[in-house]
């Protein structure tokens, strides 16, 4: 039996007036997955999830969430989809318990609100007013409210923005626990580390389009055609050795600190170390750098291009003027 996707979006398009927020987004989320929608600010991430949660009407495209069309079956969808919005607060003087019980009352088949608060580590803050909660506690209460209706799908938008590193890690643990309860999770984030640590799969969006999809490792590998090996060596003759290694695509060095940077394929480490050793050359501080998700992000979203293009243009024009 093939698993039916929980969320299926095909060629979603949405504009606000003359601004095209989402141009063409397709994505699939299967039951029990944590899927991250990653992209720079303004890429169309929030608009995408708002369209599939029924908070906004799409201009065109097909969206199916648990067999429901968000544009038509809003009432039914809200029973089965929980959503945590960015920058959404609660009344300042409502207590955690009152909020959880109130929101539970909206649903036909809610979770036990007090148990949920306990699960999210808010047991001792039940009777605290919202304004007295810390940033992490507010965020956990927000997750509790997204889950109190016993949803099958939870959409979490910029979950850990503004949290300190410890609170962020705690929140990630909470998300994993939520998934273990059988909830499918769609996570919107612009944080690389969050996507890398938490997501089974990532949909990378830029300027309203999907630019890549895959596991964090697959995405990282996509941009990382080359492995980079760095080491230091005080001895002469290193350059000659490197030039003779077949797997090396290129290298720089030695610089003032006697450091070398060698670029090559997956075997570059072994080949270079063997060759250096055979030539009787010692290498210190050996480090291998592989492509990271961040590299993939920058390459695929073109965030590294404007700067290079600008410098390129400037140096060219300078050159032209000098020549003239």
């Amino acid at each position: 039996m093939t698993a039916t996707p929980v969320i299926q979006v095909e060629h979603l398009r949405k504009s606000y007036g003359s601004t095209l927020a989402v141009e063409d987004v397709s994505l699939t989320v299967h039951r029990g997955e944590i899927v991250g929608i990653l992209g720079p600010n303004g890429a169309g991430k929030t608009t995408t999830v708002e369209c599939l949660a029924g908070l906004r009407d799409r201009d065109s495209g097909h969206v199916d969430v648990l067999g429901l069309d968000p544009a038509r079956d809003r009432a039914a969808l809200r029973e089965v989809l929980g959503m945590q919005l960015q920058e959404s607060e609660l009344p300042a003087r409502i207590t955690a318990r009152e909020a959880a019980e109130l929101y539970a009352s909206f649903y036909a088949d809610p979770a036990d609100p007090l148990e949920l608060l306990d699960d999210l580590g808010l047991a001792d803050r039940r009777d605290a007013q919202f304004r007295a909660l810390s940033g992490g506690q507010k965020q956990r209460l927000s997750i509790a409210l997204a889950l109190v209706g016993n949803p099958q799908v939870a959409v979490l938008d910029e979950l850990t923005t503004g949290l300190d590193p410890q609170a962020r890690r705690d929140t990630w643990d909470v998300v994993r626990k939520v998934r273990d309860r059988g909830v499918t999770i769609l996570l919107v984030t612009h944080l690389m580390e969050e996507a890398e640590r938490l997501c089974d799969r990532i949909v990378l969006i830029d300027a309203g389009r999907v630019v890549a999809t895959g596991t964090p490792a697959e995405l990282a590998a996509q941009s990382a055609g080359e492995h980079v090996l760095r080491f230091r060596s005080p001895e002469p003759g290193v350059a000659a050795v490197l030039a003779g290694v077949p797997g090396v695509h290129g290298f720089d060095g030695p610089d003032d600190g006697l450091a070398y940077e060698v670029r090559g394929g997956p075997e570059v480490v072994q080949d270079v170390m063997v060759a250096l050793s055979a030539a009787g050359v010692r290498a210190n501080d050996v480090r291998l750098e592989r492509g990271t998700l961040e590299d993939a992000f920058l390459t695929l979203t073109g965030q590294d291009k404007p700067r290079d293009a600008a410098t390129g243009r400037r140096s060219r024009s300078l050159l032209t003027r000098t020549e003239a």
Binding site: R78, M83, E89, R93
Partner: protein, 274 residues
């Protein structure tokens, strides 16, 4: 739907339209929560509930003019004390406090900090939050007004209204027309401070036209005429006419009905959820 057919989801999806969130039980619960939040806000609770009665009693007990005739030159107004004459003005103040402050502000706050947006993700129809605010504020207004009148009768020995029907009509339409203007604020104010800014401006102008600073019968004719066409001013004059036993305040009642009939649909049309 022309898009690719999808096989049915194995998970149970509610087929019947869920009705939990639209039930009266949930509205009662939302209203109870909003009432609790109202009472936890010290300034709203004080100004909404206690201030009108406190103002009336303090003026009645400590002002030398309180038991003088309201207006010696007027055949009707010379028959009542000044503090009796001031009572419908205090009721107009109670209406303005609720309509321009405690009613619209929480809704603007909920818009500003995303509470309305969060509710939009739940099955609760967002209109329930507005309904709850109306109920809480109407209850506040009734309690504040009854408290002021009862204390006025018991402590200050004010005389009872001569024409209770005109008084009640003036009070009810005063509340609906002022809250209609409050709805306009609630419909658009993007956050707490903008709602407070607009609300307080309207509040103090309205108190002037209601005769809180100086009773209307003592003010120039032109001020009385303008006052008659503002919601709170018309409420003050209609309730005054009913209390003092003057001619039936038909113009004022029609003015307030018009404010209500125009303000509420316009507010509903321009209302923003986020």
């Amino acid at each position: 739907m022309t898009a690719a057919p999808l096989t049915p989801t194995p998970a149970p999806v509610p087929t019947a339209r869920p009705t939990t969130a639209t039930s009266g039980r949930v509205l009662a619960r939302v209203t109870r929560t909003e009432a609790l939040l109202f009472l936890r806000e010290p300034s709203a609770a004080f100004f909404g509930l206690a201030f009108p009665a406190l103002l009336l009693v303090v003026l009645g007990l400590f002002m030398p003019w309180a038991d003088q005739p309201f207006d010696e030159k007027d055949p009707v107004l010379s028959q009542i004390t000044a503090i009796t004459g001031y009572t419908p003005i205090v009721l107009a103040l109670a209406i303005a406090t609720v309509g321009f402050s405690t009613f619209p502000t929480p809704i603007a706050t909920y818009r500003g900090n995303g509470v309305l947006r969060r509710l939009a993700t739940t099955p609760l129809p967002s209109s329930r939050v507005l309904a709850a605010q109306v109920l809480v504020n109407v209850a506040t207004l009734v309690v504040a007004s009854v408290l002021a009148v009862v204390l006025g009768v018991v402590v200050l020995d004010i005389s009872l209204p001569a024409d209770p029907l005109a008084l009640v009509l003036g009070f009810v339409l005063g509340a609906t027309s002022t809250m209609a203007v409050g709805c306009l604020i609630a419909a658009r104010a993007p956050n707490t401070s903008s709602a407070n800014g607009v609300g307080m401006l309207l509040y103090f102008v309205s108190l002037f036209f209601a005769g809180v600073w100086m009773p209307l019968p003592l003010m120039p004719e032109i001020v009385q005429t303008i006052s008659r066409y503002t919601p709170v001013g018309a409420a003050s004059q209609a309730m005054g006419a009913g209390w003092y036993g003057q001619a039936f305040p038909a113009t004022e009642l029609l003015v307030m009905a018009a404010w209500t009939l125009v303000g509420v649909p316009v507010a509903a049309k321009i209302f923003r959820w986020s």
